[in-house]
Amino acid sequence: MKIKLRTALAAIALTLSSSLWAGEQYKIDTKGMHAAIEFKIKHLGISWLKGNFNDFSGEFNFDEKNPAASNVSVSINTASLDSNHGERDKHLRGDDFLDVKTFPKAIFKSTKVVSTGNGEAKIHGDLTLHGVTRNIVIDAKQIGAGNDPWGGFRRGFEGSTTISLHDFNINFNLGPASKEVILNLYVEGIRK
């Protein structure tokens, strides 16, 4: 009797959790680094300044039949900012910009995924950066999915969003053309 009760409970728990986790769980491949988070901002309105965050991690849940049930979360180590120029990196990490000592992590957590067809979706979510949390929308697109040669299954996306520095309480004056930053994400997930 006892045993039966336990199996029954286990069965209920299993069905519950599988309906909660209807899709497939993926871990972003930051070990093999088949992923990148890039930022770019207009320099004087003349060209682009580009850089990367080299250290981050994340996962996503993907439901092919019901894309709206998908979700994604990414955590970025802000000190890993790299624009290929030491003095600028030091400045961008300092309190004029990201203040990475006080705010060592930037976090994105999706709240809603709206499929727009063709493997494209709008990912709504909360971005916490520089201590400020704001709702943003990432335009995402699936690039591909399939078996890798090493026994795993992978799925890749690219995503892009534009944020205003002022929204995140970063107010160093870089000039009128440089008030917004474009964030580009290229992620490849390995199915768990």
């Binding site: 000190a79 290929n84 120029h85 030491g86 003095e87 990196d89 030091k90 990490r93 160093f172 004056n173 870089l174 000039g175």
Partner: protein, 178 residues
């Protein structure tokens, strides 16, 4: 030759002392000022370039100064110098040397952190010798900044000592460095 001239600092020591003091004050003021410039200030790019160029010049001055220090020992202490004064002066002098060396090394490490040479007065390059550690510009930058402020505190003590000898003790300590 009388006692007076023998106990003066050598001409090279005096020149190098005041030359490096002048550079160090200049670099400190330039360093603090350049960090306050906004992005559209015409000096935003030039000030750091000058800071690094004059900094490299100071490195060569300090190398000559330290090498000469071993060949031309300082003059003997004045009879009026008390043991505690001699000891404090010794500690402060070596703290000053050490502080300057630390600032020069970390300055070089910030400027070369991205594996690119330092352009000196837009005429020649100082090559990158080492990539010391990860996040080099942050660690070296932190030390550079704090060592610079600490050095200035020690320079303050040092000057207070020199002025005390000159105006209160009325001895030759400052004069023999001039």
């Amino acid at each position: 030759m009388n006692i007076e001239t023998i106990s003066k600092w050598s001409l090279s020591s005096r020149v190098l002392h005041w030359l490096s003091a002048f550079f160090i004050f200049g670099l400190f003021i330039l360093g603090v000022w350049m960090r306050t410039l906004d992005y559209y200030n015409p000096w935003y790019q030039q000030a750091p370039d000058l800071h690094k160029s004059f900094g490299i010049l100071l490195i060569s001055i300090m190398i000559v100064r330290l090498v000469l220090r071993f060949f031309t020992p300082p003059p003997p202490h004045l009879d009026t110098h008390k043991p505690w004064e001699i000891n404090i002066a010794k500690v402060v002098h070596w703290a000053l040397y050490l502080g300057v060396i630390l600032i020069l090394i970390t300055g070089y490490l910030i400027a070369t952190s991205e594996n690119r040479p330092i352009e000196v007065f837009e005429t020649f390059n100082i090559p990158v010798l080492i990539q010391a550690f990860d996040e080099q510009e942050d660690i070296a930058g932190f030390i550079h900044e704090w060592a610079a402020y600490t050095l200035m505190a020690f320079v303050g003590l040092h000057m207070a000592g020199a002025l005390k000898h000159h105006f209160i003790d009325k001895d030759k300590t400052l004069k023999r460095m001039l």
